[in-house]
């Protein structure tokens, strides 16, 4: 295992995905350091979900490779799957199982030692107590999002991959969840990769932002540096500049290195 692998949670090298005539991800390379929160930004069809799919082993790359904690996800994913978890609005939990039953099943799948204690902790952290014994399909959208996050945290993952995690949450709950994610990262030195369209959320949570457009990485920097380089007030304005193809300032020497 080389030095880069030890310090990085994710390493993508020439990662590409082609669906017949469509290029979803076009040979991107990046590394994400352990213990950081990275935002993956881009408009619809930019390739974010496909990139995430390849990182967690759900999508096979057409070319290139992605390594998570040193394991090639196309060939050796089972070595590290127990250290990863994932939440996405495209994925649900079994509707007819209660929240507790769902967490029990996933706790067993991930080899959690004391599942009852883990559920109690998650219930306290994410305020699930009120609906722990209610069927997952009968919850409100916001409650479902919290339960999905609880499932994503059931194994205390070293890498947490979140696709639109705050969708459907009211501002108060979203803010509360953001605080929880920050504490989780700090407490466990976990790595979080976050795809989102909520620029405020990304600006607050992320140490770094990777911006994608038409399958390529078009910029990559800390949120405050991106805002400064583009001469904008906030990340949303930067996003619009990128999405609409306005002139982009050159990467700083520090970022390029």
């Amino acid at each position: 295992m080389d030095v880069a692998t030890k310090s990085n949670a994710i390493e993508a090298d020439g990662l590409a995905k082609r669906y017949s005539d469509t290029v979803a991800v076009d040979g991107i390379s990046f590394a994400i350091a352990r213990g950081t929160i990275t935002g993956l930004l881009g408009g619809n069809g930019a390739g974010k979900t496909t990139t995430i799919g390849m990182i967690i082993g759900l999508v096979a790359p057409s070319a290139g490779s992605v390594r998570v904690f040193g394991a090639d996800m196309a060939r050796d994913s089972y070595r590290v799957l127990g250290r990863i978890n994932f939440e996405s609005p495209y994925v649900d939990l079994p509707h007819r199982l209660t929240v507790r039953q769902n967490l029990t099943v996933f706790g067993m799948l991930y080899g959690v030692a004391d599942i009852a204690a883990r559920i109690a902790k998650l219930s306290a952290d994410l305020d699930l107590g009120e609906f722990l014994d209610r069927q997952a399909g009968k919850l409100s959208a916001g409650q479902k999002t919290r339960v999905a996050l609880a499932k994503a945290l059931v194994n205390e993952p070293d890498l947490l991959v979140l696709d639109e995690p705050m969708a459907s949450l009211d501002p108060d709950t979203a803010d509360w969840i953001r605080g929880h994610l920050e504490r989780y990262r700090a407490g466990k030195n976990a790595t979080i990769l976050l795809a989102s369209h909520n620029m405020f959320e990304v600006e607050r949570l992320c140490d770094r932002v990777i911006m994608m457009k038409r399958g390529k990485i078009v910029d990559d920097d800390a949120p405050e540096r991106l805002i400064a380089r583009y001469g904008r007030q906030n990340l949303e304005e930067v996003f619009l500049d990128v999405a609409r193809g306005r002139a982009r300032p050159a990467l700083s020497a520090e970022t390029a290195s």
Binding site: Y19, Y78, R79, F86, L93, T98
Partner: protein, 270 residues
């Protein structure tokens, strides 16, 4: 495939069985459905057998196998449906990606689906066999040890077809769901459930003998009509089933890989 991919955990298999058991016990329509169709068809075939039994000679002998044939066919069909239904629950609830990014291995998933097919069948099949005793005086369990061999061979075929169907749905999405319900019916005329293999045209008979259930249904008729247990037929069925299971498992793994290539697992649906 790495060594980690082949690691086996009974706890993960148990987790999946628990998941399906929670589902089954939470839904009375699912429980009723397990018994409803087998019961309706058992009555239909039972009354037909009673009617034809008033005939004499060969017709009566053939008719005496209708109920046993139906019950064994139902075991084959429901064994596959039980396997595939549990898999379909993951598609319907959009939970498959959660499972595929967990440490659950494909072999553990498949074993859990096999166990659930046995549990689901037991819930529906055992009460129907008891109804057959009560209404028609036909006790399938009288077949004794031979029944265990019949059951095992039919389950093996059901699981092989279940693995193929599940793999096709995984690769092609819910648009391929119809295959789950209909694929087994291609075996109904060819496996000679209700008539001897010799009934088929000569050129079709080799095809029939390449299907494991054909030997089971022939063996059942030998037992019911001639009171002879045909071990040769059961061994033939077992040998074929080993090939079918290997082909089913290979198709599941290959189609899982194709689904990953097509990006079909990231957003399961049609």
């Amino acid at each position: 495939m790495s060594a980690e991919a082949l690691a086996f955990s009974p706890r993960r298999v148990g987790a999946m069985i628990l998941r399906y058991w929670y589902l089954l016990r939470s839904s009375w329509p699912r429980l009723i459905e397990l018994i409803y169709w087998p019961a309706v068809q058992m009555f239909m075939w039972g009354f037909l057998q009673l009617g034809v039994a008033r005939q004499t000679g060969a017709v009566m002998a053939a008719a005496s196998t209708f109920l046993a044939a139906f019950l064994l066919w139902d075991l084959l069909f429901r064994g596959q449906i039980g396997f595939s239904m549990s898999f379909m629950e993951e598609m319907w609830s959009r939970n498959l990606p959660n499972l595929m990014i967990s440490p659950l291995r494909p072999v553990e998933f498949v074993i859990a689906l096999m166990v659930m097919s046995v549990i689901r069948l037991a819930v529906g099949f055992v009460p129907v066999t008891i109804l057959a005793i009560f209404f028609f005086g036909f006790n399938l369990w009288d077949l004794g040890l031979a029944l265990v061999v019949f059951f095992a061979n039919l389950f093996f075929t059901a699981w092989a077809v279940g693995m193929l169907c599940s793999g096709l749905v995984m690769r092609n999405g819910l648009g391929a769901e119809g295959l789950t319900w209909s694929m087994m019916f291609i075996l109904l005329p060819l496996t000679c459930v209700y008539y001897p293999v010799t009934t088929l045209p000569l050129w079709v008979q080799p095809i029939a003998w390449a299907l494991p259930p054909t030997a089971v249904f022939e063996g059942m008729r030998a037992l019911v009509i001639d009171h002879v247990f045909r071990a040769d037929l059961m061994l033939w069925a077992l040998g074929l089933n080993l090939l079918w299971l290997a082909a089913g498992a290979a198709s599941f793994v290959v189609l899982l890989g194709k689904a990953k290539q097509a990006g079909a697992l990231i957003q399961t649906g049609e």
